[in-house]
Symmetry: C2
Subunit: 381 residues, 2 copies
């Protein structure tokens, strides 16, 4: 076990209908006026929007609606949110949606208390303050509801970058699995890929792999595989939706990486280039990258790949485990080749450029050189 600090103060309220508690949670915390951040029309069509507003009104919480967050949230919209939140002098953010809405809300929360342009925080400036963020989750995948990360795309430069800060952990996140029953099969599959991606990055790249941390990761992967299959067979299976939801939250809340030392996020890094350029769903991009990256990385940590193959897929070699994972990704409807997402092989140099700029920013460009990135992408052809 390496040194670590684990400090995750987010309060999770899990259960059917519990979004009705948001008003009282905010009132307890002394919130008076908030920016109510959401995405598209779906939360209005489902009635969720009205239920949230009802809860806010009962608790006398003033709110400024701010909709239109896109999946892969974009910088220009974040800037609009910051300007609105400043003008309206809100004292908190409420994100109602999936990871994109939460990430944009976290970013606005930082921007409201800063005089610097918000993009500065994505290219190296340290976050030192943020308004409190509250969330009601409608798509389980990113883990943003219980961590201090946010990813935003600068659409003018096609850079998909991230911030990480203890200041942006949500104060309260409400997880009602029934709200995710309308997530269609393709996005359910992408969510599964995302959750698996979150745990396997450190699983394969960390300095140290204590048995406990391996087992926690394997518990989450087994659960994601089982529940995804159940959800695809029966989309209204609230039990499976709930278990999937909690697994996705635990996949990126600091638990599985405590004590493992340094580790990388190479799959996320490479995928961010894909979704920055093509605006494809993050989980779809990950499904393309992961098997390719694994085949490239296999020899670097072959024991761990053998272990993964055995525990997760009852296979006896690392290669067989990677094949089994790829087959499973394909079976749930995720793309596993660039062509499956309509990305031509001739675009690889463009993707390499983008990914290499992230590698440079993250300080991993000595390992992830242009040549290496190109080699990995060619394994996804």
């Amino acid at each position: 076990m390496r040194d670590f600090v684990f400090h995750n103060p987010t309060k999770i309220i899990f259960g059917l209908g519990r979004e009705a508690e948001i008003g009282s949670e905010l009132a307890k915390a002394g919130v008076h006026k908030l920016l109510f951040v959401y995405g598209k029309l779906s939360i209005k069509q489902s009635g969720l929007y009205d239920r949230v507003i009802d809860s806010l009104k009962r608790a006398n919480i003033e709110f400024i609606p701010f909709g239109g967050v896109s999946s892969n949230p974009i910088l220009s919209h974040v800037r609009q949110g910051i300007a609105l939140a400043k003008a309206e002098r809100v004292d908190a953010l409420l994100a109602v949606g999936g990871g994109s809405v939460i990430d944009e809300s976290k970013t606005i929360a930082v921007g409201v208390l800063s005089n610097d342009d918000i993009w500065q925080y994505f290219i190296g400036k340290k976050v030192t303050a943020a308004l409190p963020v509250y969330t009601i989750l409608t798509l389980a995948a990113t883990g943003s509801e219980m961590n201090g990360n946010a990813v935003v795309t600068n659409e003018s430069t096609q850079q998909k970058f991230s911030i990480g800060s203890s200041f942006v952990y949500p104060r309260v996140s409400i997880l009602n699995p029934a709200l995710t029953c309308s997530v269609p099969p393709d996005y359910t599959a992408y969510a599964a890929v995302d959750a698996i991606a979150h745990v396997i990055e450190a699983y394969f790249t960390s300095e140290s792999r204590p048995g406990l941390q391996n087992r926690l990761v394997e518990s989450i992967i087994h659960t994601v595989i089982d529940t995804t299959e159940n959800i695809l067979n029966d989309p209204d299976n609230v039990e499976a939706r709930g278990e999937f939801m909690w697994a996705a939250t635990l996949a990126l809340n600091g638990l599985t990486t405590s004590g493992v030392g340094q580790y990388g996020f190479p799959n996320h890094m490479l995928e961010h280039a894909l979704s920055a350029i093509y605006n494809i769903p993050h989980g779809a991009g990950l499904a393309i990258i992961i098997p390719a990256w694994m085949r490239w990385y296999l020899k670097t940590n072959s024991n761990q790949f053998d272990h993964f193959a055995k525990i997760i897929f009852s296979e006896s070699t690392g290669t067989a485990g990677i094949n089994a994972l790829e087959q499973w990704l394909s079976s749930i409807g995720a793309p596993i080749r660039l062509a499956n997402a309509g990305i031509p092989v001739t675009d690889i140099p463009l993707i390499v450029d983008n990914a290499f700029s992230i590698a440079s920013l993250w300080g991993v460009d000595a390992v992830y050189t242009r040549q290496t990135i190109s080699a990995i992408l060619h394994l996804a052809v």
Copy 2:
């Protein structure tokens, strides 16, 4: 998955030598003067006491030493601590020790802010405030370093009762596995039993058993078994000590019980009667109770016992799993019969009376009648 709230705000600082950071953590939080609670001489002999004081002095934190906490902390000593803390107007508690020292510190933290006698909180009064508690852990077992529970024995009535409140979660707990290397083999074994007991109570008695929650429990049990064997073979194995330590913390921090609905603590209930009367180590008492309770409970949840047997011990029946667990407990040096702890069978009526009073307080006396408790204890003869 049943409804749940997970909110564990304790900051864990894990690693060798990290007790040196206690002063700066306290200073950051604005603490000026604290009650420094500890047990016996061991922390002075090891040099830990001096290192902590050095860190406090460097951070200009005033402190009042309060030693003499016993394992199974007693009410009269808690009351002394409350009186001292009130007289000295401390604004925080620092517990340096194992679960007993932490539990006593939590209890003092409640008592300082109350005009009621502290025992009232153990027999039903609701905790509404507490001073902040900080801990440096020297024995991994109880999980008290990351939860809101505290157990104290009223020695005049031989009642070992508990409080549970969100107000007594430690603010910061420092986990240095090297501090546990001096824990002798018998207490290492008792600690292992305690950690396993914490996860199996809900594992067998909860209303709902989502696959994920089963897997998390099994991950912890596998880890405790592996690391305990490694520690007993090589007491200075800091790697195993560290993994054991984090497993014991996760065993009772709310993680494994999220979403499982209602569940009981029957093994703890029965054991509290044993250690209240005989002042035996909690883990030793649990090792006697658990196999007996399991044999009595087997038919109530036989599928889960079969599952446990298969996953943990590769056995095909629940009974074989219980036998394997009992054999393992014995192999690490834990007592598995009342006689092993010098408790005569003629005392069973006395233990029944004590345990039944806890069952009544917990509202489970309809299931745990005197007859039932007696039947379970006779399985431990």
